[in-house]
Symmetry: D2
Subunit: 427 residues, 4 copies
């Protein structure tokens, strides 16, 4: 069981002004060591190297997701909507607070290299021997299982899963506003209050009143712009490429038996993909940044150079893939080898769609629940069937492919490079 | 010599919208490893434990100070003010960009424990064997010396020092706006554009047109509010107390010859106060947070417990000192000792005024240059002589003293505690 | 009786984002012709001649006051405070919506000239033969009387009067934020959400939790700045002086039997101070501005010139009264007469304190209810006894006296003017 | 000739923070009676009946257009772009300030009824016997002609016309931001500073650097949203329909020789379409609103009722035209006649596209200059050929047709109305 707090607790938040905590369980979850650890994980990974304001943590974001969920539910309760299952309130709040608790530092690169997945880790933390688990079990012995079910999208009530993970969920609503605020761009702003007002629980779904269609269009356009301008920004991608190559190199060296100067626990477990929940706790972003700093002094010149580049923001340059063909890339690889620059670590093609490709595409690839409009005759229609603008955005091919290359290293060999490559690579 | 960049470079900034870089020297300074390191130092130290949005770095702030200085100078140049020494432009810009480059992680606590000073470090970096120094020397062999002079406030042109360090300097104007933005409070907002417009170079001083007096009042009131509400917030101070005690304990253990599990270079040099510029570079906030994490597993129970508390935000509670007298505190120390809780590390009195006590106090304690109003008859008057509101604020005693104590540890011994102490400490 | 609306109605509002209407009575009041008339009355009178953004109407402000009141009450109800008299909800909402319904165009000048008072008119509209009265009577036969009582501050429940009219009332909270928003100054911003959260009903008063003291200080400082920078701005005052003189002149001409070209009903009733509620309805700001336009073609040169000046914003210039003594002013009057410029209409001394002098002054002049702090021991203390900053602001003498004069008319006679007057008046 | 002002003048503006005036000519133009008259014309006509904040004047907007133009030019000059014709600066500034000076009250309805056109009036004011003309002639005898040429888009320098009137002009950039600010919606916000930075003068055109394409997309999306959500809002359109019918009725009555109670000069000239520049000056929005008030007491029941409706915001209801076919509308007209409700004044179909249909449609209908992207090889491409999102928006059919009808009048005859009409019209 949960009990209401005697006095509401309040966090000052730049995005939602205030975040209100009203349940003892929520308060206790926030104070667990696993949740506090999120203060030491940046929300946007390497994006701060492009937008210096983007230094906010997953702690802030997780509180924000909780607050958006709380606002939605409180609107449902205030309007006494019959289709809202009131008994699911605490479950929704806990799942929205905890859905990101499994994130590690620079998740994308690490997950790509070591095959981990942050949602799995969130579930492991919820179910494992953790403070989070203890707090949840105080609600009921099966409660951790339920929370994990919502995070894993296997919980049997769609309406609950929807709030945390759908095309119009509390997660995205918070991160679009928050990332826009901290980067300083104004692409991500949309009218949250209006969207919340047009949301309805209806026959097991979360739907949107048809009169709110334009507000949802505006939200989807914001999302489109944020992907183009922030999340897929080629400089951010360049830093991701670098990080990925660092981890690849380190993994390779470890497999080769290289004698690291610095190889603190739990790095070996990471390499062997044998991380425990406790190891996961230790490996926050401070840990990883310090590892990068220490590795910049390792004897392996590739690892050392890549780490130094990351710390000092000397990123690889890029050119759009349209401008260069497969044969030219092959030729470039050969030439790089001949200069002693290993193309496996210094040349890379990036497909931003490797990231969760997240523009709204009804019914395609994306398993997320679509957005349904409810009209005055109580008919449900998927939004892109009514909105020309949504239809238009959905069809657009997102993200460009880029070739990343070490411009200043190649400059040293410019006279030996093919002329057309020099031109293409601006050397 | 410096050369203008062929094309202006631009950083997106949430506070100033954009930051404009027009000189090769500035661009090169930003790309030095010492300046990039500021990305790994939070601007507000432990304040993020009170205001979770306060996760911004000294990198952002340093760019902001540079931008405010650039705007002031550009207004001076546009208006062709005769008293503005045009040849000092680059010096002002470099000094404003670099004045915080010597900051380390959690500066206040570390400086208090180990007697270092961030301004000294800024000068050492400017003058030492660093990338920053190399860039500056390209302007002229004596340029690093000049920049260090401005930072140390010994440079012989008051007008140059004023821009970086006075009661109305670019440093404060940026941090008030920035800290307000990231914490989400709206106390720190004032009309920057208007203040810049009423500033004038005049006979070797930076002065303010009398008609701008109210805008300056508003700025001083913002400052007053920010000190009360953010910088001196007792929860932030509690985290500072904790950090200070951690460093005290570690220093003590080191002096005693304690065998640390984890004592990575350059920690021994920090303890011995023998840090080099290179050591300083290594010791960023990631380093220090990771040290705190590792120390949470040391065998010394005090060190281990204090570090765990910091990481998990289990801070000491506080009571205002007005409510408790010296004898009661002495008694409390004794009782704590009898319970096996060392008061040297778990009981503390904090005087926020130990911080640079920074409300405007003309002519007192504070060596910073005062704010001068220029009236229509070209007379200069110190602002508090004209403004009743400034006079009022100046006289107000700032900051309360608090006693910090480990409430939940004492709770275990509550039955043995004096009754009046229990009441005072809410046990 | 009132009934809840089947579906909440919503107004988009730039200050509060949205304004929510939940009661049929409120909806009906908004749709009366007397309330709709407020769309044709500017909130800040002549202030748009100083701050061109200040073109917002009393309609917007009245909705805003209603919304702030609604938010306060809804917080009281949500927290189930026992000292809140729930049955007064609708009365508070109606009174806050209607308290300004009696305002006419350019209230200050017209009230000063013709001795009317907008609060009296609000009561006459609430009690008279109006659509507003009909709507209120539907609640209960005595309800109009109650609403009028709250507006006139004679209602016997202090807590109800407090919400609409005290030192921390919904009226001021809305207008500070709204006037700051539309003028574009950022002096008037304070943290409304936080202030609402620390307000409590307590033993028949509205009080503030002591922990909210700094938020209230911030609100009072905003008020101080808005008075100095916006409401008492000498250019706005100059336009007020002009308007007052226009009405004085017209009244004088009417008494003298002057044959006006244009004297539409109900102007004669205004001159004779015999306005009915219907006359009041006719006389909106469009009416008055058109009168000024038409009067600019009257044969009386003084009336014609003053009206032309107002329409074309050719205001009187000003000098602070400190710079000029009574004898010099007398001499100036004499000289003006000798030039054929009537000082009764072209020379004026303005005391901004004639306006409701509105900086917080506990217990003095001002009959408004003071701000009480409630501490943890349930003691009430007037705020200036605890806050040094409030004490400081309260003591400050507000507003400067200015002498307004027709600079360009005097310029024509500059050679005949006394030399010291020329210097004083910048001629 | 123009001379720079000795000291820059500054207007506080909520949208651009400050508006800077640096030329005597601009200052003098602002102070003419024709420009000051714009304070008495609302920017958005009847839109304040839908969004109560939309009470801002064409005065504010005109200053804003001037300021955006000034910023663009100042960026061009700062970057020393060779293709910028420096000698056209003052012409651009004057034309942007004055392009709306010919607007009258409720322009759309009046222009539709009486066949006037605001741009023609702007030219007549620039060229006629006005204070504006006098100020312009002081620059040079042919200067008024040049300014009128730019407003009429006949001036022979495309680059000058572009700034004031193209798909990406100062006019639209200001009104999108300003209308969004005052209505309080956040659809109209885009990154003005970034757009200004990517604009370039190039071979006689204003073009946009290709890297700025996304910023322009964002601006076009804002425009799309503002049209849907604000400018074509059916409630605003309903008020326009009402006004149009009022003017139609008055014109009809005048032609019939109806004896108006109130028919002040220059109304007869308006009816006869013989307005002079002086008549135009007299006929501001205060005049027209007062006329509506006076006409609400005319004996003609149709005119009187329509005016009362407008003043008290009792608008016609609407239904989308998709739901009702031509035969049903014909039947409705007949039935209305049989009830004594004249369908010519109480039934209307509105096509929002009658308004300048303003979503970006390259090369179609719209004579405005398109947006050209400049790539790194100095090739110009019309934006929709590169941007899928622009292509998508361009193809979307904008605005819905609505049928407006007097619901509460029909309610009185509901029993006689065809059943299917009753259902369609929600009776």
């Amino acid at each position: 069981m949960t009990t209401p707090l005697q006095e509401e607790k309040v966090f000052k938040d730049p995005v939602h002004k205030y975040i209100y905590v009203q349940d003892q369980t929520i308060w206790d979850l926030i104070n667990t060591k696993e949740f506090q650890r999120l203060r030491r994980i940046r929300q946007l990974g390497t994006c701060f190297l492009t937008f210096h304001g983007a230094e906010h943590s997953r702690f802030s974001h997780s509180l924000g997701v909780y607050e958006v969920t709380r606002k939605i539910i409180s609107q449902f309760e205030r309007n006494k909507y019959e289709d809202w299952p009131r008994e699911e309130r605490l479950l929704c709040l806990c799942a929205s607070l905890l859905h990101d608790v499994g994130h590690g530092p620079f998740s994308h690169s690490i997950e790509k290299t070591f095959g981990t997945h942050h949602e799995e880790w969130s579930c492991r933390i919820v179910l494992g021997d953790t403070e989070v688990n203890q707090v949840l079990r105080r609600v009921s012995p099966t409660f951790p299982q339920q929370v994990a079910g919502v995070i894993a999208k296997t919980y049997n009530q769609e309406i609950v899963v929807s709030l945390v993970s759908s095309q119009l969920d509390a997660d995205r609503m918070d991160y679009l506003l928050r990332d826009a605020y901290f980067t300083g761009v104004n692409y991500g702003t949309f009218d949250l209050e209006r969207i919340l007002r047009v949301m309805r629980p209806y026959q097991g779904h979360i739907v949107v009143k048809e009169s709110g269609m334009h507000a949802v269009e505006d939200y989807l356009m914001s999302r489109y712009q944020m992907y183009w301008q922030v999340y897929f920004h080629p400089v951010t991608r360049s830093a991701e490429v670098l990080l990925h190559n660092i981890f690849q190199r380190a993994k390779h060296l470890h497999e080769e038996g290289f004698a690291f100067r610095f190889l603190l626990h739990p790095l070996p477990n990471l390499f062997r993909q044998k991380m425990t929940v406790h190891d996961h706790f230790l490996m926050d972003e401070a840990f990883m940044q310090m590892v990068l700093m220490q590795w910049s002094f390792e004897e392996d010149p590739v690892l050392s150079d890549l780490c130094t580049r990351f710390l000092q923001r000397r990123l690889l340059k890029y050119v759009t893939l349209e401008k260069i063909d497969a044969r030219q890339i092959e030729r470039l690889r050969d030439q790089m080898r001949s200069f002693g620059i290993d193309p496996d670590y210094y040349l890379d093609i990036d497909f931003p769609s490797d990231l969760s490709y997240d523009v709204y595409r009804p019914g395609e690839q994306d398993e997320k629940l679509p957005i349904l409009l409810l009209d005055s005759r109580d008919t449900l229609t998927e939004i892109s069937r009514k909105s020309e603008i949504v239809r238009s955005i959905s069809g657009i091919h997102m993200g460009k492919y880029h070739l990343y290359y070490p411009r200043e290293l190649l400059l040293n060999h410019a006279d030996k490079l093919d002329k057309n490559l020099r031109k293409l690579l601006d050397l």
